[in-house]
């Protein structure tokens, strides 16, 4: 789960990381009010769940109040990578002496949280990773001890010379780690972390992602969720025990198992088609799940054919077939469907489906070919 910058800033503040004052605005009028009492320069920042806002013109410095309002007019309603800007953050501008990068992320290799810092701040860290990987310092944190004082300090000393700055930065690293763990985060970035002309360190932009598997114990984080239309579908699917992700193709897929679902998408592509979605219905033969899955799948108007790909393991194919038949009776659609069953009791299952008149096949390859053929009619 992702959150907006303004939400990340709020969490940072709660944990004592210094963040400049800001105000979230949903309209030009709110921006006018927000800047009314401001004397200094402000920054107007689009709040969308996409990277590269700056390049897209979604972040603007305003020297005056009227300039701030002008920027807000342009940014509100703007489209950034498919997201419409519905709110902007108005924040005090800061005199930046130098920018840094600080991030925490789960690392598969060390099986730990790693702290990444760089003196190359303010740019996308992926860029730095490509062009100057040696400029990113990576430090795995022992989960049993947390980020110890000396560790935070020694890392900070690689970025800063002045001990006062070192101590400020070290404290921020530790706070960031604390909130990362406390909120079950999977990514927490301050980019840039800046030193201003008065030698104070501030976090002036923040990004946080959270572990979906841990949301059950993070009610405050969950309350921050602001899903867009596609995400709403995914969340809805998740609540029904399904795993759904919308894509841009024409062949809807319904598969049991995530790996097999990905392999199914790949197969469609391999044979010249294009998958409309990822949809994993899991291990059950429950007809309701199939009905729900079909409804979600068919709500995508691009879908021209549906490929059902089931491998019977512990769940036998004849049971799955019974579930499918029951479900397909309920669903009323003109979109052609091809059913593939394999594994335990596949023969029995296929025989049952054939009686319904639906096209059946025994292998994935055949199913993909058939689905593409049907979608092109």
């Amino acid at each position: 789960m992702k959150i907006h910058e303004y939400q990340a800033r709020q969490i940072f503040r709660e944990y004592g990381i210094p963040v400049p004052d800001d105000k979230l605005c949903h309209s030009v009028k709110e921006v006018e009010e927000a800047v009314a009492n401001k004397n200094g320069m402000t920054v107007i920042k689009a709040q969308v769940l996409a990277g590269g806002r700056g390049k897209a013109g979604g972040v603007k410095l305003a020297k005056t109040k009227s300039e701030a309002v002008e920027h807000a007019k342009k940014i509100l309603g703007m489209d950034i990578k498919g997201y419409t800007v519905e709110k902007v953050l108005v924040t005090d501008a800061v005199d930046i002496k130098k920018e840094f990068y600080v991030g925490l992320i789960n690392d598969r290799n060390t099986k730990s949280v790693i702290l990444m810092v760089s003196a190359e701040g303010g740019v996308e860290i992926e860029e730095v990773a490509k062009t100057n990987p040696e400029k990113i310092i990576k430090y795995p944190i022992d989960p049993l001890t947390g980020l110890l004082d000396y560790e935070a300090r020694n890392i900070a000393m690689k970025l800063f010379g002045d001990i006062k700055l070192v101590r400020q930065a070290a404290s921020i690293f530790q706070k960031l780690y604390k909130l990362y763990v406390a909120t079950d985060s999977t990514l927490a970035e301050i980019n840039p972390l800046i030193v201003n002309t008065e030698d104070q360190i501030w976090a002036i932009d923040g990004k946080m992602n959270f572990d979906d598997n841990a949301l059950f114990r993070q009610p405050e984080i969950l309350a921050m969720r602001e899903p867009d239309e596609d995400e709403l579908k995914e969340i809805d699917a998740h609540e029904k025990g399904l795993s759904y992700i919308k894509l841009d193709g024409t062949i809807g897929c319904m598969v049991n198992g995530a790996g097999l679902a990905m392999a199914t998408m790949d197969m469609i592509k391999l044979y010249g088609g294009s998958p409309a979605n990822f949809l994993d219905i899991g291990g059950s033969s429950n007809p309701q799940k199939v009905v729900d899955a079909m409804n979600i799948l068919l709500s995508d108007k691009n879908v021209k054919a549906v490929m059902i790909n089931i491998f019977g393991g512990i769940t036998r194919c004849d049971d799955v077939a019974r579930g499918l038949i029951k479900a397909l009776k309920i669903i009323n659609t003109d979109v052609p469907i091809v059913v593939r069953l394999s594994g335990t009791n596949a023969t029995e299952g296929l025989a049952m489906i054939e009686q319904t008149g639906l096209p059946t096949v025994k292998t994935m390859s055949e199913a993909a070919k058939k689905a593409i053929e049907l979608s092109n009619r």
């Binding site: 099986k111 990905m262 392999a263 998408m265 990822f278 994993d280």
Partner: protein, 293 residues
């Protein structure tokens, strides 16, 4: 021979009185696995399909000599169950539970290392040494004893592939589902080494997917350390960036972990990558013919 489990494996099922735990305990027992004990706090003295239930893993180990544990408890309690098994002296823990918070797993890892406990999973289907022992939720009937080792990050895709292998008369030494989570126990490198050292394994199938760089590491390991042939398949070539494909681990981000990168790494290591699952038995047979030639 085989790796990790065999007919001497003595299994304890944590969460045996739950729906999944009870069902699969019976299935494993049917398959021939020595399921010696179950654990469910407060239910010591009961039995599940003839399997005695204990209050704690410690009690189960003391009474039955269990050396392997499989975990079916809900995700929120999985990490604690893993630690309990480890503290009780279990050598190998297989965590089936799906949806375990990553932070929980990160905290578990150094403790397992200290206790020298091996972990498979979480969010994995388990493993099987055909004809000897099945631990997890794999459908036993599709497997066949033989000389191919297999490791995979996914479930049904593995069954799909195994089914093809078995139908092509390519039996298996041990098949391991390592699970789809980003922070997990034994991974390719550990298992490749075990298969390399297992006298009965003649070739290895590696089923990977998008996310992380474990496949790239495996490719390097194969180049440097493996004498036995390996055949690979990578799922998720069409997956979009930044989206989680069912498995928490299957997410491409920051321009790394793509299928293309993984396939390139295997190409470089001389590991043939199947274009679709049905190609795997063919590639494997080519390799095996060379060995036996």
């Amino acid at each position: 021979m085989s790796i990790l489990i065999n007919k001497n494996t003595k299994l304890v099922v944590q969460g045996i009185t739950g729906r999944d735990g009870g069902f699969h305990a019976s299935k494993m027992k049917e398959y021939g696995t020595q399921v010696v004990a179950g654990v469910s706090p407060g239910k010591e003295g009961e039995t599940v399909n003839g399997i005695p239930v204990f209050n704690s893993v410690e009690n189960a180990v003391k009474a039955t000599g269990a050396n392997t544990s499989v975990i079916f408890v809900p995700a929120a309690f999985a990490a604690d169950a893993i630690l309990e098994a480890s503290a009780a002296g279990i050598d190998l823990v297989i965590a089936i539970s799906e949806g375990v918070p990553v932070n929980d797993m990160i905290r578990v890892m150094p403790i397992l290392k200290r206790n020298k406990t091996k972990l498979i999973g979480p969010n994995c289907p388990g493993l099987i040494t055909p004809g000897e022992s099945l631990v997890g939720i794999l459908p036993g009937t599709i497997f066949k004893k033989g000389n191919v080792g297999l490791m995979s990050r996914s479930g049904t895709l593995t069954y799909e592939v195994v089914n093809m292998l078995t139908e092509s008369n390519l039996g298996q030494t041990t098949c391991v589902g390592i699970g789809g989570d980003p922070v997990a126990g034994l991974y390719y490198l550990d298992l490749l080494e075990m298969f390399e050292n297992d006298p009965d394994t003649e070739a290895v199938v590696l089923i990977g997917e998008i996310g992380g760089d474990a496949e790239e590491q495996a490719a390097r390991f194969i180049t440097e350390k493996m004498s036995k042939p390996v055949v690979a398949f990578i799922a998720g070539q069409t997956a979009p960036s930044g989206k989680r494909m069912g498995h928490a681990g299957a997410i491409i981000s920051s321009g790394s972990g793509t299928a293309a990168e993984k396939i390139a790494a295997f190409d470089k290591a001389g590991v043939p990558v199947a274009k679709e699952p049905s190609e795997i038995p063919l590639l494997l047979k080519e390799k095996l013919i060379k060995i036996h030639a």
